[in-house]
Each structure stands twice: as structure tokens, then as C-alpha cells.
């Protein structure tokens, strides 16, 4: 193992997270870019900041790295307040969207840069550079210049360049943006495995939900400067905390309903418990709905369009009151699907798996 991270040595009480973002706020002029963002990241955890452009995810990353100062709140690493610590003393390593490799230096000199700046030279520096390059399988590329490498190789140099200084937290700003789609997904899996193997704590920034689902132990969904929900990918998908999260991640069906007395009626005749009352909206994932013959239920509609995607059939159904829904069912061998235009009844498979949100 080439990378002996000082994690075990410097580990404080297990209750202190590696990274604690405490109610961080940031304004640019009159615009609030971040508002009371709080997030704890544990040892060895990969957390993704996910949201559309302009949601503040990159600003939050830059506050952690120290390129920006937070106006409110604090960023702590191993319990230490990073506020007074300048950029070049923070124990973080940043992988930039553009990789920002130094074009006038060879790969080896790029990787050795952080060591040189700290006055580490000679045999130790050589050993650590070789170790970092081996970690990303670029041991034979030390003499090349960045412009002589492919996009994927450049990304690995950018990673090796920060690994060599053994950061406590790895920060990655949309690191796959510069790669073509084909390379992207294989690099995602590779990078996750590498980070896990090294036991690093990492924060990813992305606007691509598939990338977030692939990479993360936990996803923090951001919207207009706030963190809407931070949870493991499955939990985000299954139990989205807000309608926004449900809409942002995966496909979701929404319809309006009225709750009273602790329950809300579902259109197929079932009921679901809820703490909300009055006007609400209900969300169901396409695979929590199923279709049957029209006479089998009271929630009716007709198939607008359907297509088969491998083992899955995707139906677009318009209900009798004009709501468009998506239904996904596993394809049964030899069973004929409902044709376009067919009258159907809709059923909710598991009412507890529906989410109830206050009407927006």
C-alpha cells in the first residue's frame, strides 16, 4: 500500500466527522448563493453535491477548499475550524473540472509539485511520486507532458497530483465533464473503486444524477443554495424528502389529493396514512403502479403510448381525469402488453411506498 494516510493516527473521537459544514451561508452582492448549508461527512464516505447549475454546489465546494470565504457558518476538518486557515494549508485536495494540470511541467513534475512546495525532495519525493502514479496506473507516463495525454489520463494525473499530499478530504468538481460519454461511465466506476480502496473521504460536485447514483455513499440534493436532502442513493430514490427531490431524481408521477384525519385517499380506493392535512400531492414511482383490465378497478385511463425496454415495459397512461402517468412493469414472457389506446385500470402496488407532500 503506497498511501499511508495519517487517518488512523490523527483520528479524533469517532463522534467528530472528518468534514463538518455548519450552517454555511454565502452572498454575492445581494444574491444569496448559499443558505444555512449543513452537512457532516464521515471517514471514508463519498458524498455528492447534486443539483442543477446555479444551485450553489460549486460555491460550497470552493468554500471548503478555501477559494471562497463563507459569510456565515463554518467549515471544520477533524474538528478544526478552517476559517483562519489559508488555501495552501488546508488538508484538502481539489480535482478541477478542467484538471488544471500545469502545461509546462511533465506528469512527474505535476505530481511532485505539492511535495516540492512543502520542501520534500530527493528519495522520499521520488518514492511518493512513483507511488501516486502507480496508484492511478500511470507509472510509465512520468516524462510526458499533459498535452500528450488523453482526457482520461489527464484526469488520473490530476488525481495523483492531489493524492501525493495525502489530503484528509478529496474535492472533485464535475471531474467527468471533460470526458466523452463512453469513457465517463467506466471512469466513474474506476474512480469510486480507487477512492474506496484508499479509504479516502471525498466530496463530488455534479449535475448528473446517474453519476451521483454511481459514485456516492450519500447524495446531498441542492436547490437554490440549500441542501434539500442528504441521504444514501436508495433512500433518496425511495423516500424523497420533498417533491423537488422526487422530481429531480428518477421518474415520478404526481397527482393532487385532499388529506383529512391522518389519511389520504388514493385514487384506486386504497388509503395511505399521512401527517399532512388539506391539499396535498402524492408521488408514486412508475414501478409502484400496475395496469389491469378496465373492469378490475375504479381508477381508469387509457394507454397513450408504450415501449419495451429490454425486460421492462414503459406505459404512458392518461387517466380519465386527464393526469399523465408513467407505469413500468416487468415484461412477462408470452403475455401480450396493453396496446396503445387500450382502456385500463390503474393500481398502486404498495401505498406506503407513495410519498405525500403538501400541495405546492
Amino acid at each position: 500500500m503506497m498511501h499511508q494516510h495519517p487517518r488512523t493516527a490523527s483520528k479524533v473521537a469517532s463522534s467528530v466527522p472528518v468534514l463538518r459544514i455548519g450552517a454555511v451561508g454565502k452572498q454575492f452582492g445581494a444574491t444569496k448563493v448559499l443558505e444555512k448549508c449543513s452537512l457532516d461527512v464521515d471517514e471514508g464516505e463519498i458524498v455528492t453535491l447534486l443539483g442543477p447549475s446555479g444551485c450553489g454546489k460549486t460555491t460550497l465546494l470552493r468554500c471548503i477548499a478555501g477559494f471562497l470565504d463563507a459569510d456565515q457558518g463554518d467549515v471544520r476538518i477533524d474538528g478544526q475550524d478552517m476559517g483562519p486557515i489559508p488555501v495552501n494549508r488546508r488538508p484538502v485536495g481539489v480535482v478541477f473540472q478542467s484538471y488544471a494540470l500545469f502545461p509546462h511541467m511533465t506528469v512527474a513534475r505535476n505530481v511532485a509539485y505539492a511535495l516540492k512546495m512543502q520542501g520534500i525532495r530527493g528519495a522520499e519525493a521520488d518514492r511518493r511520486v512513483a507511488g501516486a502514479l502507480a496508484t492511478v496506473s500511470l507509472q510509465d507516463f512520468g516524462d510526458r507532458y499533459p498535452s500528450q495525454l488523453s482526457g482520461g489520463q489527464q484526469q488520473r494525473v490530476a488525481i495523483a497530483r492531489v493524492l501525493v499530499m495525502e489530503p484528509r478530504v478529496l474535492l472533485l468538481d464535475e471531474p467527468f465533464n471533460a470526458l466523452d460519454a463512453k469513457l465517463r461511465s467506466s471512469m466513474q466506476v474506476e474512480l469510486r473503486q480507487l477512492i474506496k480502496r484508499l479509504g479516502l473521504t471525498a466530496i463530488f460536485v455534479t449535475h448528473d444524477q446517474e453519476e451521483a447514483l454511481t459514485m456516492s455513499d450519500r447524495i446531498a440534493i441542492m436547490r437554490a443554495g440549500r441542501i434539500e436532502q442528504a441521504a444514501p442513493p436508495d433512500e433518496i430514490f425511495d423516500y424523497p424528502a420533498t417533491a423537488y427531490v422526487a422530481d429531480f431524481i428518477g421518474t415520478s408521477n404526481f397527482w393532487k389529493a385532499s388529506a383529512a384525519g391522518g389519511t389520504v385517499p388514493l385514487p384506486d380506493g386504497q388509503r395511505r396514512q399521512t401527517e399532512h392535512s388539506g391539499d396535498v400531492q402524492i408521488m408514486a414511482r412508475p414501478h409502484n403502479l400496475k395496469l389491469a383490465e378496465p373492469e378490475a378497478g375504479e381508477w381508469r385511463g387509457h394507454v397513450q403510448f408504450h415501449r419495451t425496454i429490454g425486460a421492462l415495459i414503459e406505459y404512458h397512461v392518461e387517466t380519465s381525469d386527464g393526469v399523465l402517468l408513467q407505469v413500468a412493469t416487468m415484461r412477462q414472457e408470452r403475455a401480450a402488453p396493453f396496446d396503445d389506446g387500450a382502456a385500463v385500470s390503474l393500481h398502486i402496488i404498495d401505498p406506503t411506498y407513495c410519498a405525500v407532500y403538501p400541495a405546492s
Binding site: G66, V87, N88, A100, V162
Partner: protein, 271 residues
């Protein structure tokens, strides 16, 4: 055959036109220099074209005339001084204009440009009077400083435009990789600015060496620079001697350009 078919007659005509215009422009730019060089080898003692013979006599004479050699040395000194001053003043100014977070960065970059907009003669006269006011008489140093003021904008603009095109993430990366602001400047920013600084150095050196309009008012009485010496020469004589001096200058200029393009080493500076 297939390659030819891709182009219509109009395309061929268009390309031909562009080629012709380019060739004409090139001729316009190069022809005077070529004619001067040809004249400098003429055997006759007056300037005329076409030449009637071939001799190196004028070149020998250039180096035998004490005033000319001295003027060349003076201009060389001015050129080098202007270059050094422009690097020392221009690079930090460009950094301040492009990276500064204080108010007035725009004002600063306009302010630097102003002396360059003023006609050189006006600047020269102004420096002469201002110098007289504070008791500084014309000298090789006053000449160097006034040409520096005149040409500083070129260095600032050249470096600034390169700075603006540099990925700001490069300097952030250096900071993240434990570099202090000064280390980042020395190891990342300066090396990447080098091509621009060298290009600026060539421009400012040529101006320092060749400037007449500012120099004519500010040069020292005993330290005549080459352009002033040449002006005097063409006023009173019309021998191909002047052409020979120009020939020497042309050779020097070409040598400098070759040296620069070799030292920048275009392969390592691409972004």
C-alpha cells in the same frame, strides 16, 4: 480527382483572390526593405535604383565611422534599458490589471495606455520641458525613461492578454497544492507568461532602439542614438551608407526574431 470536385469554380476564384491579395500585401511590406538592401550594395556614391555594381564598401564604412558605431552602441543601450524597465514595470502592472481585486483596475490599464496614444513628438517635447523644470537635462537616461513611458502599454497589453486567457484554476490548483502566493507566481504564472513577456520584450527593444520621435527631444547631446544620427545623415548626404546601416539593422532584427522563436520552443507553451 475526387478531391478537386469538392471545390466549385467560385471557391477556386475566391481562394485565388485571397492568395493574390496576400501576395500583394507581402510584397508591399517586404519590397522597401529589399530595395534598401539592394541599394546598400551599389557601387555609386548616391542613392539610385537599379544598382550598377556590387560592393561591400558601404558596410565597411559603417563600421569605420566612429559616430555611427557609437550611435549604434547608444541605441543598443537604450533598447536594453527600455526592455528591462518595461519588464520590471509592465509585468506587475499587467498582473494588477488582470488579477487585482481593487477598484480602479480598468482606470489603471487605461492610464498606462495614454502615453502611447499621445504623438511621440508631443511626449518628447513634454518630457523635455518637464525635465527642464526640475533641472534634468536630456541624456541617454532621460531618453530611455521617456521611451519606456511611451511603450510600456505594449508590454502591459501583451502580458495582460495572455493572463486573461490563462485558466484561473491553474493558480487555484497551485494554492491547493501547498504553494504560497509567491511560489505560485514563480512556478506557475511566470513560466506560463514567458512567451508573452518575450514577445513584449522584442517589441519594446525595437522601440527603444529605433524610436525617433521621442528620442529627438530627449537624447543626450553627446549620446546621439542611431535614428537621430541617421536623420542627420540623410539630411546632409545621400550615399548608400544609410542603406547599409539599414541593412545591418534588418539582419539584427531577423536574428532577434529567430532567437526568440527558438527560445520560446512553441511545443511546451501550448495551453
Amino acid at each position: 480527382m475526387t478531391a478537386l470536385r469538392k471545390y466549385s469554380l467560385g471557391d477556386i476564384f475566391g481562394v485565388g483572390l485571397i492568395f493574390a491579395v496576400g501576395l500583394f500585401t507581402l510584397l508591399l511590406l517586404v519590397a522597401p526593405s529589399i530595395i534598401v538592401v539592394i541599394i546598400s550594395f551599389d557601387t555609386r556614391a548616391f542613392v539610385s535604383f537599379p544598382p550598377e555594381g556590387f560592393t561591400l564598401r558601404w558596410y565597411a564604412e559603417v563600421f569605420q565611422q566612429g559616430e555611427l558605431v557609437e550611435a549604434m552602441a547608444n541605441s543598443l543601450q537604450v533598447g536594453l534599458t527600455v526592455t528591462v524597465l518595461c519588464i520590471l514595470l509592465g509585468v506587475p502592472t499587467a498582473l494588477a490589471c488582470a488579477r487585482g481585486r481593487f477598484k480602479g483596475t480598468t482606470a489603471l490599464s487605461v492610464f498606462v495606455l495614454v502615453p502611447h496614444m499621445v504623438p511621440g513628438i508631443v511626449l518628447g517635447v513634454a518630457v523635455l520641458f518637464a525635465g527642464a523644470l526640475v533641472g534634468v537635462s536630456p541624456s541617454i537616461w532621460l531618453q530611455s525613461i521617456s521611451i519606456t513611458v511611451f511603450i510600456l502599454a505594449v508590454m502591459v497589453r501583451t502580458v495582460q492578454s495572455r493572463l486573461v486567457r490563462l485558466d484561473p484554476a491553474l493558480e487555484e490548483a497551485a494554492a491547493n497544492l501547498r504553494a504560497t502566493p509567491f511560489q505560485s507566481l514563480r512556478t506557475v504564472t511566470f513560466p506560463l507568461l514567458m512567451p508573452a513577456i518575450l514577445a513584449g520584450a522584442v517589441f519594446t527593444f525595437v522601440e527603444g532602439f529605433d524610436n525617433l520621435s521621442v528620442a529627438i527631444f530627449t537624447h543626450g547631446f553627446r549620446d546621439r542614438p542611431l535614428p537621430v544620427e541617421l536623420l542627420a545623415l540623410v539630411q546632409y548626404t545621400s550615399s548608400p551608407l544609410v542603406a547599409a546601416v539599414s541593412g545591418v539593422q534588418i539582419v539584427l532584427a531577423i536574428a532577434a526574431l529567430i532567437a526568440v522563436s527558438l527560445s520560446i520552443g512553441l511545443d511546451n507553451v501550448n495551453e
